[in-house]
Subunit: 257 residues, 2 copies
């Protein structure tokens, strides 16, 4: 049988899963998708993804590929998979690709967004999808600190100590901080803050640790200069601040043409 | 001890509850709130609400009152209750009121909104908070049909047969249909449609049955004139179309000054 390569684009709400990666027992996004694919194509399938996401992290536009010998037309996988997938995973696009396409190695740009609910009271509708910060944030200071991350840097100070890669050099093209006023009619409603990180790629926990550092600045605990020095120190043992997964979204993955 | 009347304004996500109303065994919003209040004030508390909501229905701005002999200042209940309430119920305001205030009888206007996700694929982030309709909707036809509901009418044809009230006459001030384009970058993403109903009050299941009728029009199955005739027939046995609870939000409750 002819082997073909199929690319999938999909969204998921990470709340119910122990991350993207297949687990022996615990539910995972990859596990659910491979189970459905096996049923459709009649053989074991292994998904190659653009990059894993941690437990509780969401994806708006994740990309993966798989190899199959089945005859199902590439674009048919959208409806076929959505029929069997749980409601919190939705396939948006499927397409047969040239055999030299690779969902991980061909990535040229990734965008992550981190959502912060900044107001005195919580919001029952944003529980699993934003990080609630009660104290007011100094947005201009956060923007000043974010400037130091733009460009090509060694991000050793801003990734998990469990990061095992050859190089911790990455390029960040843009960090944008958008502030939206929430429903001003409802008392205690404040701001919906979205941090957008666009770069060549990100290390393990890097977006959450950059966000953690920017939040320390926003709270007035760290200065933008302190963050600049942290970056320059390239130290794995520098004090890192992580933020919870429910605010993080893999927003977009771009490939070379 | 002096009896005082405290007004509460609160939001809840209805997904985990069998409606607002206290149940003997099943979880309810009222049950959770009364349990927390009892703990705070040291006596049994009974909440009088602006109106019940069904299982799975949400509230952005629900209002209730209770009577207490405790000495806690009225505005302190916000933080005190939020400390003990589950995450999907949040108190936004609390205030001591004159003793003649009543959270149900003094209502002069209510607003409900119904959210429809109108696109080919589902969205994992709107599962419990919108009704997914795949087929394209004829919005202008829906707006034409909605016009017939505006004003003072007997809504016998658009409420549950289990509605036990003296009069089924209600006044609708406004029905607005807002259409927002969703993320056009993501394939298969369509429209976020919000139906807003503002009126003197609504009968049991009335907003959902009005929405159901408007959706039949939007799908081209009913004409606006058919809906007009349904209303005029004032018949409890007319064919009604209900829509699921997860799209419905009690949006606002207004009181006489």
């Amino acid at each position: 049988m002819q082997e073909r390569k199929i690319k999938l684009v999909f969204s998921y709400r990470g709340t119910a899963y122990h991350g993207f990666q297949r687990q022996r027992v615990l539910p995972s996004v990859q596990g659910e998708m491979e189970k459905v694919l096996k049923r459709l194509v009649g053989h074991e399938v292994s998904l190659a993804v653009s990059g894993r996401t941690d437990a509780g992290v969401h994806a708006r536009y994740q990309t993966a590929h798989f190899i199959t010998t089945c005859g199902i037309p590439g674009e048919r996988f959208v409806q076929a998979m959505n029929t069997f997938l749980p409601d919190d995973i939705v396939v948006l696009e499927s397409k047969e690709m040239p055999f030299d396409f690779h969902a991980r190695y061909d990535v040229v740009e990734k965008t992550y967004r981190y959502r912060i609910l900044n107001q005195r009271q919580s919001d029952p509708f944003l529980l699993d999808r934003a990080y609630w910060v009660r104290v007011p944030l100094r947005i201009e200071q956060m923007r000043a600190a974010a400037e130091h991350f733009i460009g090509t840097h060694d991000f050793t100070s801003f990734c998990s100590v469990r990061t095992h890669v050859d190089s911790k050099v990455r390029t960040i093209y843009e960090i944008r901080i958008d502030v939206e006023e929430r429903d001003p009619y409802v008392k205690g409603q404040g701001q919906d803050i979205w941090l957008t990180f666009r770069g060549s790629g990100f290390l393990y926990n890097m977006v959450r640790m950059l966000t953690g550092a920017l939040l320390e600045v926003g709270k007035g605990r760290w200065t933008p200069e302190y963050v600049k020095d942290m970056l320059a120190s390239k130290s794995p043992s520098v004090r890192k601040v992580n933020v919870p997964p429910q605010g993080l979204y893999l927003w977009d993955v771009k490939y070379k043409e």
